[in-house]
């Protein structure tokens, strides 16, 4: 009895799937899915190397400081990094006094602990970076976690910042509707998911910042540095994670070998093992 029911239920599902498959296949042949502009012209992030890549990945303090300078001078006008606290900057190699000075430049709206009112006061190292009020259209995302929140991570950020171009002639030829109107406020960037990004090219010229370590602030250098900085904001414990990881994995490999030898010992008197 159960097998008759089983066959009936099986027939029910398989026939439904056959029908669905048939309908899909007919549609697929009669109307093959048209490629969209995003499908054809979207590009994967460029190859870019960062100190934080791979199992030996670590942070390059000088680069993080440069990236922080780019963030502050260029990005911070529109983008917040609200998960990061000023005190965290000590890990970039700034000393206590420098961190205090950086924090003091910010205005923090916080509850006064004595009166309980919301008041503006200068920032303290314990504060997080404040939210950024953006007056224009659109919603510039918070950048704290951006390298973890996008496929491709740091390479994506770097590619996006250096990827602005004119719309290719071929794109306009194949997809005439995709031509950007001058007043759309959008910019063509093949690394952005839908190809058209509202952000104006932020690193439009060299020397937007002056690096204190003397590195030449080319567009490419600034893009790379800020991408490296945003790896740090997203994953400040990366170095420690890698270090602890090596100790753990090596110790456990050792334990595996010992455990295996012990297992062979225990089973030595049972043939076939």
């Amino acid at each position: 009895m159960i097998r008759i029911i089983s066959l009936a239920v099986g027939a029910f599902f398989t026939l439904a799937l056959l029908l669905a498959f048939g309908t899909g296949a007919v549609n697929y042949i009669s109307e093959p899915p048209a490629p969209s502009a995003e499908k054809v012209f979207h590009e994967h992030p460029k190859e870019a190397k960062f100190a934080s890549d791979g199992p030996f990945g670590h942070f390059d303090e000088a680069q993080l400081q440069r990236g922080f300078a780019v963030y502050q001078n260029v990005c911070a006008a529109c983008h917040s990094i609200s998960q990061v606290a000023y005190r965290d900057l000590e890990k970039l190699g700034y000393n206590e006094a420098e961190v205090k000075a950086i924090a003091a430049k910010a205005t923090i709206n916080a509850k006064d602990p004595l009166s309980g009112e919301m008041k503006d006061r200068p920032g303290l190292p314990a504060d997080k970076f404040p939210p950024v009020v953006y007056a224009g259209a659109g919603h510039p995302p918070d950048l704290s976690l951006i390298t973890k929140a996008r496929h491709g991570g740091a390479a994506y950020v770097y590619s996006l910042l250096t990827g602005y171009t004119e719309q290719p002639a071929e794109l306009i030829k194949r997809f005439p509707d995709a031509k950007l109107k001058p007043d759309s406020g959008l910019h063509y960037n093949p690394y952005f998911a839908n190809l058209n990004i509202a952000m104006t090219p932020p690193l439009a010229s060299d020397d937007l910042v002056t690096y204190s370590d003397g590195t030449k602030a080319t567009k490419d250098q600034m893009a790379k540095d800020v991408a490296a900085f945003l790896v740090w904001t997203a994953e400040p414990n990366l170095e420690k994670r890698h270090q602890v990881g090596f100790v753990w994995v090596l110790f456990m490999l050792f334990a595996t070998v010992l455990g295996y030898m012990s297992y062979r010992n225990i089973w030595a008197d049972k043939k076939g093992h």
Partner: protein, 427 residues
């Protein structure tokens, strides 16, 4: 029950004797996972996943309790408290990555454990109850994992909750009311997050209880084995301690190596980047996918694209998705073959390796892919095979198949001179 030749617990220290009279807990442990539990001597490495699954459960409970000490179950703070754990709590990043990847590890282990059951027909009499309880554990795990994924309140958390609870609105008549009851609102919000947190904390302990039943049920007939031949004599078995403790022990260490590589060096490989974006009810991500362990069932859900008879496509998909797991409950009665092990079932074995395994692989792949062609058509074919396998092929094959000759006993299978039945791993 145990075999008559099993070692008996004999406490020597007076304190242990006293304990044995008052509360024979050491005796229980001894008979459950100690020298008192006799196990077939020929188990291969596919039998290690039960022990590993238990380890994963303990690991999830421990790291989960730690995370709950720092997490805030409120839509205004959930995302930030998760980041607080990652950044400021001592070793918080380790706890969270271990918990997130621990869920994945748990499912890897469980899928292997279940497929061991499929190949060796571990569900057959006298072990039906173990199997039924196991399917219940799997269902509970899926519910727990789903609710846990909602807790960080990222984009995928929110939209996952939206889509999965949306499945219930497919139920005729009461669907919408049921969904609103489930969510405590019209869309996922604070009420949803709070109840999911509460249930996500509760369910692992329910799972633990059901696992105890699973192990209890296992100890009545004793473990199955790769030949499928029942234990006949003392030479067929070895005591769990030290033999299988030793074997499970070293594989635990190996598991920890692999788990360590995932947690410390690629902790986000199995996660979705969108969950590092705070939940935004006004903006749907381009491509909603659940966590990888739901992909086969998600692919089945999406495979039903047309109405069938009087059943609308949406309801059909939901029915199929739940049925895909519910059919497992009936396996002990659908598979009538007198032989258990796939090693002695030439026809069944072919369907297993060349049918079920590739179909599952395709379903895994398509469930994670975008809902577009050719992935939909592929998942339709794979789902078709999936249902045909359990509901049509298994019952028919088990009636018409001529099994290979079985070894007389486990001992013969292990010690026999022309021993083709010693099934890998132990060689």
């Amino acid at each position: 029950m145990s075999f008559p030749w099993a070692n008996e617990y004999k406490p020597s220290h007076p304190l242990m004797v006293w304990m044995d009279e008052k509360l024979p807990l050491p005796r229980l442990v001894y008979n459950a996972v100690g020298g008192g539990y006799e196990v077939p001597r020929n188990l291969n490495y596919f039998w290690n996943f039960g022990f590993l699954a238990g380890l994963c459960l303990v690991m999830q409970i421990v790291t989960g309790i730690v995370l709950a000490m720092h997490y805030g179950g409120d839509t205004r703070v959930a995302f930030n408290s998760t980041e607080h754990i990652m950044r400021d709590v001592n070793w918080g990043w380790l706890m969270r990555y271990a918990h997130a990847n621990g869920a994945s590890a748990f499912f890897v282990v469980i899928y292997l454990h279940i497929f061991r059951g499929f190949f060796y027909s571990s569900y057959k009499a006298p072990r039906e109850m173990i199997w039924l309880i196991g399917v219940v554990i799997f269902l509970l795990m899926m519910a727990t994992a789903f609710m846990g994924y909602v807790l960080p309140w990222g984009q995928m958390s929110y939209w996952g909750a939206q889509v999965i609870t949306g499945l219930f609105s497919a139920i005729p008549l009461v669907g919408d009311a049921f969904r609103e009851w489930l969510l405590g609102g019209f869309a996922p919000d604070n009420a949803t997050l709070n109840r999911f947190f509460s249930l996500h904390f509760l369910l692992p302990f329910v799972i633990l209880g059901v696992v105890i039943l699973h192990v209890w049920a296992l100890h009545i007939p004793g473990s199955s084995n790769p030949t499928g031949v029942e234990v006949k004599s003392e030479s067929d078995t070895v005591p769990f301690y030290p033999y299988y403790i030793g074997k499970d022990g070293w594989t635990v260490a190996l598991f920890m190596v692999l788990f360590g590589i995932a947690v410390f060096f690629m902790p986000n490989a199995l996660g979705h980047p969108d969950n590092y974006v705070p939940a935004n009810p006004m903006q749907t991500p381009a491509h909603i996918v659940p966590e990888w362990y739901f992909w086969p069932f998600y692919a089945i859900l999406r495979a039903f694209t047309v109405d069938f008879l009087i059943v609308p496509a949406k309801l059909m998909g939901v029915l199929a998705m739940f049925s895909a797991i519910l059919v497992w409950f009936f396996l002990p009665w659908l598979d009538r073959s007198p032989v258990r092990s796939g090693s002695y079932r030439p026809l069944y074995r072919k369907f297993f390796w060349f049918g079920l395994v590739p179909a599952m692989a395709v379903l895994f792949y398509c469930g994670g892919a975008p809902a577009e062609e050719p992935f939909v058509m592929l998942s339709q074919l794979a789902s078709l095979y999936y249902f045909a396998h359990f509901l049509i092929i298994v019952p028919i094959v088990s009636s018409i198949e001529r099994p290979d000759p079985l070894p007389f006993s486990i001992t013969e299978a292990v010690l026999g001179a022309d021993d083709k039945a010693s099934l890998g791993g132990q060689g």
